[in-house]
Every structure is written in C-alpha cells, then in structure tokens.
Amino acid sequence: MDYILAGIQEAFVLLLSGDEEVYTAVFATLKVSSMSIFFTLVIGLPTGFLLGYTNFPGKNFVRSVVDALLALPTVVVGLWVYAFISSRGPLGNLNLLFTLPGVAIGEVVLALPIVIALSAQAIEELDLSVKDTLLTLGAAGRKLALDILWEGRYGMLMAAVTAYGRIISEVGVATMLGGNIKWRTRTITTAMAFETNKGQFAMGMALGFILLLIAFIVNGTLSFAKRMRQSR
C-alpha cells in the first residue's frame, strides 16, 4: 500500500529535482507519442472517413476486421514490425530497430484501428442531413471529406484522445522495438516496467504519475478547445 503514497511523493521529487534520467525519458515519451499520433491521424482519419462515409460491398466485413484489430495485442504488433525492421528484415537498412522512430511505427500500427474505427463510427453517427447539406452547397471530393470531418469534430477529437492515451501508455511495443535502452529509447512506460520488474514499486508509481500528468496536460488542452463549443 505504502508505495502508492511513496510514489506520489517520489514523482514530485523527481520532477522538481530535475532528475536527468527522468527528463530524458519524458522527452523520449513526448517524441514518440507526438510522432505516432501525427501519423496515426494522418493515415487514420481519412481512412475512417472513407469507411464511415462510403458504401461498398463488403463494407461490413471491413468494419468487423477493423473492430477485431482493436484487440491487436502489443506482442503481435511488436513481432510483426520487428520482422520488418530487424536488420535482416526488408527494412533492415533503415536501422530503425531500437530507435524512437522504430517504436513510433509500432505505435501507429497499434493505434490505427482505434482511430479508424472510432472516426468511422463518428461519421456514421452524423445525421445524414449533414452530408446532404454539404452536398447541396456544392462540396465535393477532399473538401467534402474535410468538412464532414469538421462537422464530426468532437467525435474525431475523442478518437484522437483515445488513440493518444493508448500510445502514450503503451509499453509492450516500446520495449520490443525500442529495447528500453537507457538515454536513448527509454520512455516513461518502459522505465516504469523496468523499475517494477526490479521491485522498485514506488519508483514505478512515481513514473506512472508523471505519465498521467503529461496525459492530463495534453488532454486538458484538448478539452479546453472543446469547451469552446459551450452550451450547445
């Protein structure tokens, strides 16, 4: 029990004392999660839009597959991406293994189903008349897609927040593809797992609180943007 309190205390000590190891891990975490969420959204939102907006034979099957991929285990993603970026894999020349961009690839694979499934859902939930309204005003193609996404912006934001939460808290892929190498690829989560494995529960908790703090700041900013919609 006591390690929970100790953890909170420790978190403050680490942050305030400017512990270099912790700050390096924080920085790595921010770097990986920013890269990952960026590419996840760039790929995921248009895909989710298409899946939610268009009707094609087999659409239900594709939706089911995406929904199933929400259960993609980190180990599978790790192994799969490892197969590609390991030095004997097809992308071995790019030297991505045990680097932060390498981790980001795995996180993108992991988070894509979340963004695709949730944004497709949000688009489908939009009233049909939204699409008709945009069409009658002459929207088409990319502009149509963007504006439908905009009309469903709170849903998209939620998809992004959920994916970000998944990415920043993820440890399996980060360990497998990043290797938890000190000063280089050690993120808060891998450090946390490492400390816990060593039995340093309080330290693990401390890192966990720091992570939640970051998540709270990021999501707090998003929530603030959202609050702008007011009483609606």
Partner: protein
C-alpha cells in the same frame, strides 16, 4: 429544356415512391410542385438536385444524360434547400459564406454577398451574422438555410418547404427573393410547399404529384373515397351532411378523384341544372389572383371545393364570404387518379 426525365422510378425497400414517364422542365421559370404528404415531392427534388439517383430511368440535364460521376460538378450549379434543413455547426455568416468559399470568392465581395443574402430573408446582418448556429429560433434557422442557397445565385434552385416555420413578413420577403432570383439571375426555381396561397403567388407553372405520379390536374379538389358503385354505373360518395357526389368512369386503384377548379360552376340557386352534381355549401374564402381571377373556397359537407371565377362573375353573383351557394359540376368532370 433544362431537365428531361424519362421513365424514372425510385424505390425505397421495394416500395415505389416515384414513377414518372416523362417530365420536361424549362429554364428560367418558377415551378410549383404540389401534392399531399408522401406523394414523392422530396424524392423528385432530390433527384433533380443530383443528391439521389433514380432506381431506374434516365435524367437529362442541359440535353445530356447525367452519369453518376458528373453529379459533383452539377451540384455546383444546382442547389437545394432541404425539407429537414439544417445548419453547419458554425456561425451564421460562415454558414451563408460556405458555398461561396467553396467557389473561391474573395473575402471582400463575399462579405457583401453574405449580408445581401441575409437581408433578402429578413435577417439583419448586424444582429445575426455572428450568432452561432444554435442561437436561432426555428424560423430564423430556416431563413439562414435559405440565405445560404440564395447567396450562390445558382442556375437551379430547388426549395423544399421554404416557408415552413417562417412568419408572414418573411414569407413575402422570400416571395420577393425567389422572383428576384428568377429575374436577375435567370435562376430556374422549383418550389415545394403546402402553403398553396403563397405558392400560387410565385409560381409560373404548377406540377402536381399524387402517389408518386405527375397528374395533370391542379392540386385542388382531390376527393378521396370510399366510392359506392350504383346500378346506374355511376359511383357515389356520401358527405357527412348527407349530400352525395356522383361521378362516372372506371375507378383507379387509388379510389381518388380530382375535379379541375375550372370545371366547377357556382350558382346562387340550385334548382335547374343538367349537371348531375348540385351541392349546397357556403363560401369560406376568396382570394385575388393576378389576371382578375378569384379563387373561391366553398365548404360542402366535410370537404372544401375550389372554383376559379372572374372578378366580374364574382360581382354578378354578389359573392361574399359566408354566403350560401351551390356548387355544380358534371359526373364526367371527375378524373380518376
């Protein structure tokens, strides 16, 4: 010819909602599209707006057959005010400006056009331009939606119930706006409305839909069944007050007849007439139309019949609201729909 529809059918889950053998629509006119609920008006408008495709049949626009991949381009010049009109989740001015922005208009002329459009529907830009989409009453929202279509100065403007929820003053403003669109911008306009009074005051031509089909008669004097077959071969409907209507011909599936207002005579005395139907009623409403025509509503039993009279005929009969009058028409004047 702007539109030509050939052998159009539109099914919803196996139910046929629209079935038009041939329909031609000329440019630069104001068409009224009337018909009871569920008669297929919205269905037709959506096809004309290139929002939906007919289940079968061909749509020609400007002489060429419309293929699905052309529709996004055509939607640039054809715009529709939806029956269930809604606003985009942005400010009023951004709603109105949306279509212009799409078309790449520069911000300065855009602002001018947006204000003009708001004024056309009776909303002061100063008061409304910066409101959020949800800060509006029902009629205000409806008018913003209309403004965002008017502002486009489209080639074709399709309006589905533009005056629903709208007050009387705005109604006449919309009337002006529609006429102005036709005259200044040569816009072709097709309006659906149940507000017949308003509709007749703007429309050049009236199309009537009934059960998904276009019928020749005007929308008025449509009398539903049940009809009882008599030994004489005529069909008879008994009104609530006991009076009877007799019609000839063979009943259609719908069991509904229509009688053109021009086939109906009014007389102050009902004794002598060769016509089969002489019904007693009283005048409820008289409305003046351009060309010295007066539309007279007569309440007969539980239905209302409409007749068109000249102004002179009205004066000769000394017709006034509340006056008892006889409605006279032949059994063969009825058309089975």
């Amino acid at each position: 010819m702007l539109y030509e529809l050939k052998n159009i059918k539109r099914y919803y889950n196996g139910r046929c909602a629209l079935s038009i053998n041939h329909l031609a629509i000329e440019g630069g006119q104001i068409y009224a599209l009337v018909g009871p609920n569920g008669s297929g008006k919205t269905t037709l408008l959506r096809i004309l707006a290139f929002l939906d495709e007919p289940t079968m049949g061909e749509v020609f626009y400007n002489g060429s057959l419309v293929a699905p991949k052309m529709m996004p381009f055509l939607r640039r010049e054809v715009t529709m005010l939806l029956q269930d009109s809604r606003l985009l989740t942005r400010k009023v001015k951004d709603n109105v400006a949306y279509g212009l922005k799409l078309r790449g208009m520069d911000p300065l002329s855009m602002k001018h056009r947006v204000n003009e459009a708001l004024e056309m529907v009776g909303l002061s830009p100063k008061e409304f331009a910066n409101r959020k989409w949800y800060e509006l009453s029902g009629g205000e929202a409806q008018r913003v939606a209309l403004a965002s279509r008017l502002v486009l100065r489209p080639k074709v403007l399709l309006l589905d119930e533009p005056t629903a929820n709208v007050d009387a003053v705005s109604e006449s403003l919309i009337n002006d706006a529609v006429v102005r669109a036709k005259e200044e911008w040569k816009t072709t306009i097709i309006v659906v409305s149940h507000n017949l009074l308003w509709l007749y005051s703007v429309a050049d031509e009236v199309l009537t839909l009934w059960g998904g089909r276009i019928i020749q008669q005007g929308p008025e004097n449509i009398i539903p069944g049940p009809w009882k077959k008599l030994e004489t071969g005529l069909y008879c409907k008994t009104l609530r007050d006991g009076q009877k209507i007799f019609v000839s011909g063979e009943p259609s599936e719908s069991k509904v007849i229509s009688i053109s207002p021009s086939e109906i005579l009014l007389a102050s005395h009902g004794e002598k007439s060769s016509a089969r139907n002489v019904l007693r009623g009283f005048v409820t409403q008289m409305t003046y139309h351009n060309g010295d025509q007066v539309r007279v509503h007569v309440s007969v039993g539980d239905i209302t019949l409409v007749a068109f009279l000249t102004k002179d005929a009205v004066m000769d009969l000394n017709l006034h609201p509340g006056m008892d009058i006889y409605v006279i028409f032949k059994a063969s004047a009825a058309k089975w729909l």
